[in-house]
């Protein structure tokens, strides 16, 4: 059993837009989502720029059709997953064996950390309702219920590669004829917990990040959610608009080097990209665009760049890090960037790597700096690498 996996729809929310249309617009106009903190309350407010979704919890709840007391992580998830499902043109998911696989890393931490402020002062204070959605699985359950998906619901948590892994678990379930339709991707909201944590690691940029630049200083944190709808061939054929593309390859590998740092030669990144190519039966030369993990940290970009240098030898595809628009959305990044990869094939787009100025001296290639459309894009590689050495690559191909 080895059935192909088709992509039928996408949904996304991030600092640069609340839906796919707004994203296309911002990507074309080069509008980055970073700004001063507005919704997150932190002591680093004026020092560290972040890429927030430009809506309060109340506004998000309104958009999602859910109560405002649930975690921001779950609200973002519901909005993007719903868009993806609607866009897919599948009328009634109850007809099919449908799954929802969602990744995140912070769960309902945004609610929990605010609960604790009052609770620690006085153990009778604070509303328990705010912490019942703390664990990572809760955000998934809320969205699954909201979408009416019951057949298969799962949460994956492997740091910043989480949602890429969610997508390829979904693909496997379709390939093996266990499910017909899978909505997969991830979500994460900005929290003080993650901001302070990344701040202690000293990898946050106080300016807007510059991925793959010689003078890169670190990453900007972002938030959002991104999902793709994957379907079996049978369903793909039944869709009026037809599928957008296929998920032709994927691979996960461990860098086995350090908890948070990538190995200097990017072993994990190399193995993941190479494995995805092998799975699809494609050659490095077939790839038209790479959506880089490209966080903007010294360590990630040199490791990822070195792996690309090794794998692609001297014929480098176009590439860019869209984290220069959305910031690093952690558990959501693989999902959001999968959406960008699908859109790249669908509309022939190559996105710019904003604020790129100086080539890295170790690398013989540079990222794209301008937006272009109408390009012949047949195969797109999307990289997502996470703490714990967890490295994943997804490969999307034109049908």
């Amino acid at each position: 059993m080895n059935f192909p996996v088709f992509i039928a729809g996408t949904g996304v929310i991030s600092a640069i837009g609340n839906n796919v249309q707004q994203h296309l617009h911002a990507l074309e106009n080069g509008t980055a989502g970073m700004d001063n903190m507005t919704y997150l309350d932190s002591v680093h407010k004026h020092r560290l720029p972040v890429a927030e979704v430009k809506m309060s919890n109340e506004e998000l709840a309104g958009l999602a059709g859910l109560p405002a007391y649930i975690s921001r992580t779950a609200l973002l998830s519901s909005i993007a997953a719903k868009e993806a499902l609607e866009q897919s043109g599948i009328n009634d998911i109850r007809q099919w064996r449908t799954g929802f696989i969602s990744a995140n890393t912070v769960g309902g931490m945004d609610k929990t950390e605010n609960f604790f402020i009052d609770f620690l002062k006085d153990s009778r204070k604070g509303r328990l309702r705010n912490v019942v959605h703390h664990e990572c699985g809760a955000a998934t359950e809320i969205t699954a219920d909201h979408l009416g998906i019951k057949h298969y619901v799962s949460t994956i948590s492997t740091a910043c590669s989480s949602s890429a892994n969610a997508i390829f678990l979904g693909a496997r379930l379709i390939k093996q004829d266990i499910l017909d339709v899978v909505v997969a991707g991830g979500t994460d909201a900005l929290t003080k917990f993650t901001l302070n944590g990344f701040n202690t690691l000293m990898i946050l940029d106080q300016q807007y990040c510059q991925p793959f630049d010689e003078n890169r200083r670190g990453l900007n944190l972002g938030e959002g959610a991104g999902y793709i709808v994957m379907v079996s061939e049978k369903i793909a054929l039944s869709l009026k608009q037809g599928p957008v593309c296929t998920l032709s390859g994927y691979c996960n590998a461990n860098d086995a080097y350090h908890q948070t740092a990538s190995s200097p030669d990017g072993t994990g990144s190399f193995l993941a990209m190479k494995g995805a190519l092998e799975k699809s039966g494609l050659q490095p030369g077939d790839i038209d665009y790479i959506n880089l993990h490209g966080t903007g940290t010294q360590n990630n970009d040199i490791a990822e760049g070195t792996a690309i240098k090794l794998l692609f030898k001297d014929r480098y595809p176009k590439m860019s890090s869209t984290k220069s628009f959305t910031g690093h959305t952690l558990g959501a990044s693989g999902g959001i960037e999968a959406v960008f990869s699908v859109l790249s094939i669908q509309h022939g787009l190559v996105y710019p790597n904003l604020r790129f100025e100086t080539p890295m001296k170790e690398l013989p290639f540079t990222p794209e700096t301008v937006f272009s459309k109408g390009q012949p894009i047949n195969h797109v590689l999307s990289n997502s690498f996470g703490f714990g050495g967890n490295c994943s690559s997804l490969l999307f191909s034109k049908t």
Binding site: T200, L201, M202, H258, Q259, T260, A261
Partner: protein, 83 residues
């Protein structure tokens, strides 16, 4: 410097290391004590906690944390003057 060694051992959970095992000029990272980047960040926390010294960026740490002696020198030079 003996105090500093004790503090380093405690901050970094180097349970099997004794203060006298660390030479004053022994490199702390890689080939010496084998510390890594997270340890460097913990040393920055140590400076802040024990000596109220704030290192602005992680790169600065490279020269400061070369050995116990360079660390001690940095502390003497940068400690805020209190009564």
């Amino acid at each position: 410097m003996a105090d500093l060694k004790k503090q380093i051992i405690e901050q970094l959970n180097l349970k099997d290391v004794k203060p006298e095992d660390i030479g004053d000029d022994q490199p702390l990272f890689v080939e010496g004590l084998g510390l890594d980047s997270i340890d460097a960040l913990e040393l920055i926390v140590l400076l802040q906690q024990e000596y109220k010294i704030k290192l602005a960026n992680a790169e600065e740490g490279q020269s400061v944390f070369r050995s116990v002696r360079t660390m001690a020198q940095y502390i003497t030079e940068h400690q805020p003057k209190t009564v």
